[in-house]
Homo-oligomer: 445 residues x 2
């Protein structure tokens, strides 16, 4: 248990009391309660914990599972305990609003998700939700009345584990739902029934969609999931945007032949060609300036027998960067290398651009507000892209969006070993609070 | 249909009539009937042919299948038509003996197999069996009486498709059968029942084993399954021995992490390490003098998802060469490279020598007899190792062994595209005949 005074000093909260503060009616500078934040994260970690496990065992709280359903029921009580009334939309997203002083202004939205990947950790999503609840608490505790309404959100099913890519519920809010999508089946469950299971109403799904301009801004606090902040010992990351993704499906065709009878010089070994391509992808991504990444995550060999020279290899090549122009250049570079490799190995290599995800830039005004909030807390910041997708990506099409990152120890995520120090959790939550209040001061972001 | 005269000239049979011939009582020089050889191979190709297919569609005549059982029944009639009586041993191997003039001498054994891999061709095994039957025909047609009995053999289940590695029936003849082996189950079938299905008697399986010295020599004609003879335009290969195999199981452990959030420099990508190793295996095998081969035929990635950096890769490394000393050197070389790769990629790489197959050298005297037979036919020869395993490997422990190879067009095998020209089939069969007669003249091989 950290005392309030110790916490305030730790989070650089002395800056909050500086002459720069503008919340005239506040009794004391608003700040989040770090002990309550930790307590709630620890409580949440019991929903989906492996039997006999501890906090360090992580969680499997896949959307629509029993763990997810029961955690959401508990969350409704926690939201009420923050003095606001939860409201479910027809997709199962949970909103809760604190009235503003100027009711015609659009609300400031902030939140994240609590579903996890199978075998996930206790911070991805969870921290953003609990910090958002702390903002609601802190504003009330400080006796503040913001100009804009403040709106908490808990997005349903962010990880897209159930029903696959493109089925996060924040997508529906942004209007991305095609006819038949609710008939998708996963683990024997229809998507419409899954939505009913978490309290949604698939028959009124169209009411979930929100028009552009629905919010003044959207803010999300999240763990980095990479190691940049941890290595640099910088507590606050200001996200420049969520990267675009270009994914290629690659098929290498050689000739399957007897591994004993075919001399080395006569082989058309699809795996030798594919291995050369794996190294080329790495080299292309690593050798140029910038923060682009390139990955071969999937590779399948046919016939995949120790005594047969591989005849066919299918693999994925994925490039990510904020700049789509850079992604096109990386794609051209890998195509050129693939052609040379095919020639050298007497194979054919076919690359198909299978999926493209556009990038979602964070709004400059929201980035600026986060920077000011961190400055006021005396916290060092670094700007960086988000290599992972987030609900913020969807909401960026509806209003100015920004994200705050806190360090992931060792860059580990989607793992029980996912870890962010309690101090960093509190620093992130206070930065979120400061950014919300900063944006509240602005008529235009 | 090729005329006998045309065939004899084609196969260099004029040499058979030279003053070097020694079969004093023969009315005409013995030679195989190329037309009958082809006709039998074409007939055999209908057993296991895909529905609606042609000869070019190849066969799936897996041991113990309906195709195998019916082909074997047809073979019994063909053997009888060659004027000898077929006899099944308790494992299902089919023998047929032509009496010799000196009955106390051990027989000369020759033959091959007719089972195939799934989606196999019409020459692997089949040619050796049909050529062996031609030897029986030809000796009788020439009115010859050999000193040694001549023994035809059709080995059951050579390909080890059913019940896996080490289950070929020639192994049992060599005494390699462990308690419980007949209880193995494949496709819902117990191995003992499989043996019954082809006319064997698992209750008397011990009677199959033959002692050392059971035969004067063993000869097998087989397609090369590699491209050496075809490229060199040499019709007859004299096998120096069947290569030894060292197979390693390799596990590369990196760290599975988010493909979007982990910068290139911070990755411990198991697939990057494994790909480097695949190329090292190729380089180690290809860069030194000799005919050794090295293959990575199996490779499996975990978690094998496009957006996750591979955390673990399991793969096989297989080296083959006649010399076990060379295999040990290759193994040391790949271990040294693996250690360097692990260091460079921040992974661990564990290599385990999983299986070793000893080499089976062909007997110098049998090699010499094959060379003389080819010389007499005016056929060019090349000595080469067999990179593939054969029944001859097992029988090498019981008597002097030798193998004759004929060219595989394009080196293709275990494929419907497997092809050996009818002329090369006939040349191989006549060389087998000549080698049998040459060995018959010798008291000691």
């Amino acid at each position: 248990m950290i005392s309030r005074r110790a916490f305030l000093s730790m989070a650089g909260a002395s800056a909050l009391a500086s002459p720069m503060r503008v919340w005239g009616r506040a009794q004391s500078p608003p700040a989040i309660d770090a002990a309550r934040l930790r307590r709630r994260l620890e409580s949440l970690s019991t929903y989906g914990r492996p039997p006999g496990g501890t906090f360090a065992s992580g969680v499997s709280r896949v959307a629509y599972s029993v763990a997810d359903v029961t955690a959401r029921a508990w969350m409704l009580e926690e939201i009420k305990s923050a003095g606001v009334a939860p409201r479910l939309d027809a997709a199962g997203n949970i909103y809760a609003r604190l009235a503003g002083g100027e009711p015609n202004r659009p609300p400031i939205l902030f939140g994240s998700h609590i579903d996890s990947v199978p075998g996930g950790g206790n911070f991805d999503g969870d921290l953003g939700v609990m910090a958002a609840l702390e903002v609601i608490h802190a504003v009330q505790a400080a006796g503040l009345k913001t100009r804009h309404p403040l709106e908490f959100v808990l997005w349903a099913h962010e990880e897209s584990t159930a029903f696959g890519k493109g089925t996060a519920c924040s997508r529906i809010v942004a209007g991305d739902l095609k006819p038949g999508d609710l008939d998708q089946v996963w683990n024997g469950m229809r998507r419409a029934d899954a939505i009913r299971r978490i309290g949604g109403d698939p028959d009124r799904i169209e009411t979930v969609v929100r028009p552009k301009g629905s919010w003044h801004a959207y803010l999300e606090l999240h763990i980095e999931q990479g190691g940049t902040l941890d290595r640099a010992k910088v507590p606050i990351g200001i996200v420049e945007g969520i990267v675009a993704i270009h994914r290629y499906d690659v098929v290498v065709e050689g000739f399957a032949n007897h591994a004993g009878t075919t001399p080395m010089g006569e082989r058309q070994d699809a795996l030798v060609a594919a291995s050369t391509l794996v190294l080329a992808v790495r080299e292309i991504a690593a050798s140029r300036q910038g923060r682009q990444v390139g990955t071969v995550g999937r590779l399948e060999v046919e016939p995949n027998s120790p005594n047969v020279i591989p005849g066919r290899v299918a693999l994925s090549v994925e490039f990510r960067d904020l700049s789509e122009a850079t992604l096109r250049e990386l794609g051209e570079a890998v195509k050129a290398r693939a052609a040379a490799i095919a020639r050298d190995t007497k194979t054919t290599i076919a690359l198909t651009l299978a999926t493209t995800n556009p990038s979602a830039p964070a709004h400059a005004g929201v980035q600026d507000a986060i920077g000011r909030a961190a400055d006021q807390l005396g916290l060092q910041t670094r700007r960086l892209p988000s290599g992972a997708g987030h609900d913020a990506q969807m909401i960026a099409s509806l209003c100015p969006m920004g994200m705050i990152f806190v360090p992931s120890v060792g860059g580990i995520s989607h793992s029980p070993r996912e870890l962010t120090s309690w101090d960093d959790c509190a620093r992130g939550a206070n930065t979120l609070l400061g950014a919300v209040l900063e944006l509240d001061r602005r008529d235009s972001v």
